[in-house]
């Protein structure tokens, strides 16, 4: 955390960073994140001046690596830049030798992380002990909230879509009043008419679902392209799985059939003369 601050301070005073002509072999190495290296025009072997504050850039280091950070959804909106150093070099720069923020503990195979954490928690005075799973669960809370929000928006969208579909189906079927009257006059059975109208509703729903799926795939691709560029990350923002497609198509088919059958039922139970507009 603190070294990131130092680098942000350095970025603000970028003109003081590159210093040539030092005996770089004796300087500590520093690994620089790709984005930061691009921002500051750094390459392997460049010497940088760094410190914990812009007015105390007294330390020098040689860029020994430029790395691509692992995509992390928790970090993208912060837009912080990072560097990596060997622990003793960083501790010396911070003036805090032999101090760390946290320890990582690897357990022998077969040991349960939670029970080991409980033992450490009861014995290690002054430490907070967390299992990796607990940390992952805690840090994923943000995304659970976003997921809940998306689900709520999806429900509202489904309600809006259902009403829209019902309305359109009703209008489509009502448009066929004269056709229905003529069919009834020439002896076509109500059941046949109902089936025909239902088939038409199903066809409309299928075509709508196919077009909608295509639009969703295009919108998803556009969303990913835009946000990957916007946040300079390889993360996937829109992920349309077969399960989502199946659910959406099944839902729209179901809604289409329900809406179509309601509208068709309303039409076939109306007397032909009323449909013809003579009563």
């Amino acid at each position: 955390m603190r070294i990131a601050i130092a680098v942000r301070g350095l970025a603000a005073l970028g003109w003081t960073l590159c210093v040539a002509g030092f005996a770089s072999a004796q300087l500590p190495g520093i690994a620089v994140e790709r984005g930061l290296a691009a921002d500051l025009g750094l390459g392997i072997g460049d010497t940088v001046r760094f410190g914990t504050a812009p007015d105390s850039l007294r330390r020098l280091a040689v860029v020994s690596a430029i790395y691509q950070p692992r995509p992390d959804p928790a970090e993208i909106s912060k837009r912080q830049r990072h560097v990596r150093m060997h622990l003793p070099d960083l501790a010396a720069a911070l003036g805090a030798p032999d101090r760390v923020d946290r320890f990582g503990v690897g357990l022998r195979p077969g040991l349960a992380a939670e029970s080991a954490a409980a033992v450490l928690r009861s014995n290690a005075f002054g430490y907070q002990v967390h299992s990796t799973r607990a940390i992952a669960s805690e840090s994923s809370q943000t995304f659970l909230v976003i997921s809940r929000f998306h689900r709520a928006i999806a429900i509202i969208t489904i309600v809006a879509g259902a009403v829209f579909l019902l309305c359109i189906m009703l209008l489509k079927v009502e448009e066929r009043r004269l056709d229905a009257a003529v069919m009834r006059f020439i002896g076509v059975r109500r059941r046949t008419m109902f089936g025909a109208l239902l088939l038409e509703a199903a066809l409309v729903a299928v075509v709508g679902s196919v077009v909608g799926t295509g639009m969703a795939l295009m919108a998803g691709a556009a969303t990913n392209a835009y946000y990957r560029r916007f946040f300079d990350t390889a993360l996937t923002f829109s992920h349309i799985t077969p399960r989502i497609v199946i659910f959406s198509v099944a839902l729209s088919l179901g809604l289409g059939l329900v809406a179509g059958s309601l509208a068709a039922w309303r039409l076939v139970r109306t007397r032909p003369m009323v449909l013809w507009g003579r009563q």
């Binding site: 005075f125 009403v163 209008l171």
Partner: protein, 397 residues
């Protein structure tokens, strides 16, 4: 009867169809309203929160935002003294944030400690008991959740521990304090366990007293209109510090939550499109159904303008009624969505994503009404251009 009267009455001929259309428009309008509230609510809510105590500028370590990192600035008293000499500044105070422990029976509770200057603080409001006084080194302020957890109130004593020493398994820095008051920390998230003491006490607990460290300095300018120029001047005077006005912080915040703003624009536009499609479809089919009636009216001398007004009035009536229902529905769903989003970990409890504002709501209503009314243009054009004789002949057969 006027064209508008006809238009409104014609909606009553098909109650089911009209009801469904109204429901569709209402849901679309509710979504539009929610998205308008979301797009502007973020910055409004955050700006109001930052200005809750009237402090318009924050000074933090260079490259950081308030409490965004653990970085601190040193020589806080020197910075504050220099700021207080500035005639453009009404008040300035340093704040230190640090991790603490409180003793509850035989166990320790993790707390967040604020070191404040009670005469110049923009962080809390006293809800019961008394505030700290500047020289009060024995007093402490507790957040409601801490008071409940420790089972104490104003006048009681609590033990706070600044640092634990794992090597000797004991508290390295700790002492007893008297609870002066229970306060509402403005920037705390729900249930946050925060305590406050005067800055020198908190610096000692955090072992930050030697370098006189603070997390930030808050500044209240005498003139609200001069905040921008004061911030610019402070940037020149304190190049080692980050000087952020409320506008700067809101801009940073908007950048972080850009996703929600963009989502609100996209979903708001889609809601508008759905409403327009629904109205246009309904009116087009209605016009087709009533073509005979419309051309008969034309044949007896009713002008094209009256027919167009009638169709447009139907669209306007649908949009108006659907929008009115949509406002109520939108306010309800906004509360539901806000309850979800304010569950973000670490978000101040006072923060809101969906903020109803008269200006933005008026704009949304006007846009919906205008586009909804314009959705009737195509069906109105269809109605007006129908050939009278040909249509009447077709209707007769």
């Amino acid at each position: 009867m006027t064209g508008i009267g006809w238009g409104v009455r014609s909606l009553g001929r098909h109650p089911l169809r009209t009801a469904l259309s109204l429901a569709g428009i209402a849901v679309a309008a509710a979504m539009l309203l929610d998205m308008v509230m979301l797009s502007g609510g973020l910055e409004k809510s955050f700006g109001d929160l930052l200005l809750a105590r009237g402090y318009q500028i924050r000074l933090t370590p260079r490259g950081t935002l308030p409490f965004d990192t653990e970085a601190t600035l040193d020589g806080a008293s020197r910075v504050v003294a220099a700021l207080r000499r500035d005639p453009a500044i009404e008040a300035a105070g340093a704040v230190l944030g640090t991790a603490l422990y409180g003793r509850s029976a035989d166990s320790l509770v993790g707390l967040f400690g604020y070191g404040v200057d009670p005469t110049a603080q923009g962080l809390y409001q006293v809800t019961s008991g008394a505030d700290l006084t500047p020289g009060d080194t024995a007093g402490v302020l507790l957040a409601g959740p801490v008071a409940r957890l420790l089972g104490v109130g104003p006048g009681d004593s609590v033990t706070l521990i600044g640092r634990l020493d794992p090597q000797v398994a004991m508290a390295a820095v700790g002492r007893r304090f008297v609870v002066r008051g229970v306060v509402h920390w403005l920037y705390d998230h729900r249930g946050q366990l925060s305590v406050g003491a005067v800055l020198p006490v908190m610096q000692r607990l955090a072992r930050a007293d030697a370098a006189d460290r603070a997390s930030l300095v808050v500044i209240k300018a005498r003139d609200d209109g001069a905040v921008g120029s004061l911030a610019a001047r402070l940037r020149r005077e304190f190049p080692e510090l980050e000087v952020s006005s409320v506008a700067d912080l809101v801009a940073h915040f908007k950048l972080r939550l850009v996703y929600f703003r963009q989502l609100s624009y996209i979903l708001g536009s889609m809601s508008l499109i759905v409403a327009v499609l629904l109205i246009a479809t309904l009116l087009t089919i209605t016009v087709h159904e009533r073509l005979g009636e419309i051309v008969t009216l034309r044949a007896i001398g009713v002008s094209r303008g009256t027919v167009i007004r009638q169709v447009l009035a139907e669209g306007a009536a649908l949009t108006g009624a659907g929008g009115a229902i949509g406002i109520g529905l939108g306010l309800l769903t906004a509360r539901y969505l806000d309850a979800i989003l304010t569950g973000f970990p670490g978000l101040p409890a006072a923060f809101s994503f969906f903020v109803p504002r008269a200006g933005t709501l008026g704009t949304a209503a006007a846009v919906l009404f205008l586009t909804g009314s314009l959705a009737g243009l195509y069906p109105a054009w269809l109605a007006a251009r129908s050939p009278i004789a040909e249509t009447l002949r077709a209707e007769a057969t």
